[in-house]
């Protein structure tokens, strides 16, 4: 068998396998379609996903964005600042690994705007209004994509929690007991019975009093939530809270809303 015969045989086998695979997909699609049209979409299912994400602990920026370098022992010379995501342009050209070239338009604490281009693989975490710890490149420098700011990749989960709680306290979204959230963070979900707005709004977040049921008794927490998080609480039927002070001498601790860390 000479070389062109070998090439012809390989081409034939590959083409036949590809066709068989596609044909298998078509059979699977036929079986699915034969079962009838899917049930109409339930818009409230989105809020279940929001509450599930909310119930997570603090995480490193790498895990949250699923891109960039992992945290290491490197010490960054400057402290990170927390920017707010304003717009999410691009998000096109996903590759096989699922990462998507994305541009994040951010508002820095001093009101300046900057755009960070990076690869991310979960758009669910990227939405206008979310916070992102960032730090500047040295003056006059930028990375290969032209970014003059970069996400705080070097922070581990505990450091991210400390930065984000400090930012929320600075905005007036958390009270002085917030540092207790760093001691033994333990989110818990409970069914709610009522959400009451107090009329106070800070940094675009609305202060609410949420009444929830725990072991048959009604408890209340007061805190700030973004509008979408209020809708998530109402339409999922659950709130994520944490007990700030561990029980001492048989007395219950104080409850607080679990922060949406980013």
């Amino acid at each position: 068998m000479d070389a062109d015969q070998i090439v012809a045989v390989i081409l034939f086998v590959v083409a036949a396998l590809v066709c068989l695979m596609v044909w298998g997909f078509e059979i699977a699609a036929w079986r699915e379609l034969k079962a009838g049209p899917p049930a109409p979409h339930d818009p409230a299912s989105y809020f279940d996903a929001v509450v599930s994400r909310w119930a997570r602990g603090p995480m490193a920026v790498h895990d949250w964005l699923a891109g960039g370098p992992y945290p290491d022992d490197r010490v960054c010379a400057v402290d990170p600042v927390v920017a707010e995501l304003v717009e999410l342009p691009d998000g096109s050209g996903a590759d096989e690994t699922g990462t998507v070239p994305t541009a994040l338009r951010l508002r820095l604490p001093d009101g300046e705007r900057t755009t960070i281009r990076l690869d991310a693989n979960d758009a669910v975490n990227l939405r206008p209004g979310t916070f992102l710890p960032v730090y500047p490149e040295p003056p006059g420098f930028s990375d290969l994509r032209g970014n003059t700011w970069r996400p705080a990749w070097h922070l581990d989960a505990v450091a991210v929690a400390r930065v984000m709680l400090g930012h929320r306290r600075a905005l007036g979204l958390l009270d002085d007991g917030a540092e207790e959230l760093l001691r033994d963070p333990r989110p818990e979900r409970f069914p709610i019975s009522r959400i009451r707005p107090t009329g106070t709004v800070r940094a675009g977040q609305v202060e609410v009093v949420v009444t929830f049921m725990r072991t048959g008794s009604a408890l209340s927490v007061r805190g700030f939530l973004r509008p979408e998080e209020i809708a998530a609480v109402r339409h999922s039927g659950d709130v994520v809270v944490t007990e700030l002070t561990v029980r001492r001498s048989g007395r219950d601790g104080r409850w607080a809303l679990w922060p949406m860390w980013f």
């Binding site: 083409a15 590809v18 044909w23 109409p40 979409h41 339930d42 342009p89 998000g91 996903a94 979408e228």
Partner: protein
């Protein structure tokens, strides 16, 4: 714990789309399978019965198989739902879900699912509709803003989002503003929740200061989600409620903000 939800039954449009897709897949399978078998049989027959060089025969067979495969993967787009003839309603955006991201199509557009609450609706009356935007422009739609919707009468939750609605006409569907329709810039001075709710809708009073230092009040029932864009100090657009042209106005309506309005 999740609230039990009834999303209704698929309507005639969904059933028709399903039937078309099923017919398309069935046709592909019926055409493609015989063509595959025919290609293999013809290849073997030519190899056995003719003197043709077998590398060329196999190459031709590979080409034929690839063509059949190409026929399998080509699909037609289904038509969009026709615009419903129902009345224009006002709804409050409460969530924006990314429906597709990372694979903008040939038109370079992404799609988000805008989730909203029609005015005065009960907790279970969520509606949703699709909003498309250019990938390069991004999206900044924030929950809390007002949008215009038209319900599809055969669907429980699905609505059509009306993007090109005059904001003054939209806000007039909520607050009975009389007089002119001149838009003004103003700053929010204070925000108060003034009583007990009707369902999820709380009576609120928003005081704004206009450029000519006039204090005007906007009173209506709002969702807590709507209060986010009404933080004191925030710039808003208003239209004055000039009930009596000979007295100074004391009331106004606040116009929706955001790019889905």
């Amino acid at each position: 714990m999740s609230i039990p939800r009834d999303t209704g039954e698929p309507d005639a449009f969904m059933k028709a789309v399903n039937a078309r897709q099923l017919q398309r897949v069935r046709r592909r399978i019926r055409v493609a399978l015989p063509l595959e078998v025919l290609t293999v049989v013809a290849t073997v027959a030519i190899l056995l019965l003719t003197d043709a060089h077998w590398s060329w025969v196999l190459f031709g067979a590979a080409t034929a198989t690839s063509l059949v495969g190409a026929v399998l993967v080509v699909s037609d787009d289904d038509a969009e739902r026709p615009r419903p003839g129902t009345d224009l309603e006002v709804a409050v955006v409460v969530g924006v879900e990314i429906a597709d991201w990372g694979n903008a199509g040939a038109d370079d557009q992404h799609r988000v699912r805008v989730i909203a609450r029609p005015l005065g609706s009960a907790t279970s009356e969520l509606v949703h509709g699709d909003h498309r935007f250019r990938a390069g422009d991004g999206w900044s739609a924030r929950p809390g803003t007002l949008i215009g919707i038209r319900r599809f009468p055969t669907m429980k939750h699905l609505v059509r989002l009306e993007r090109c609605v005059d904001p003054v006409a939209l806000v007039r569907l909520r607050e009975p503003v009389r007089g002119g329709s001149v838009l003004e810039d103003a700053d929010v001075v204070s925000l108060r929740v003034t009583g007990e709710p009707d369902g999820d809708w709380w009576p609120t009073e928003v005081t704004v200061r206009t450029a000519d230092r006039l204090l005007l009040v906007s009173e209506c029932r709002r969702l807590p989600e709507e209060l986010g864009p009404l933080e004191p100090g925030t710039a808003v657009r208003i239209v004055r409620d000039q009930r009596d042209p000979f007295t100074r106005p004391t009331r106004c309506a606040i116009l929706p903000s955001g790019d889905t309005a």
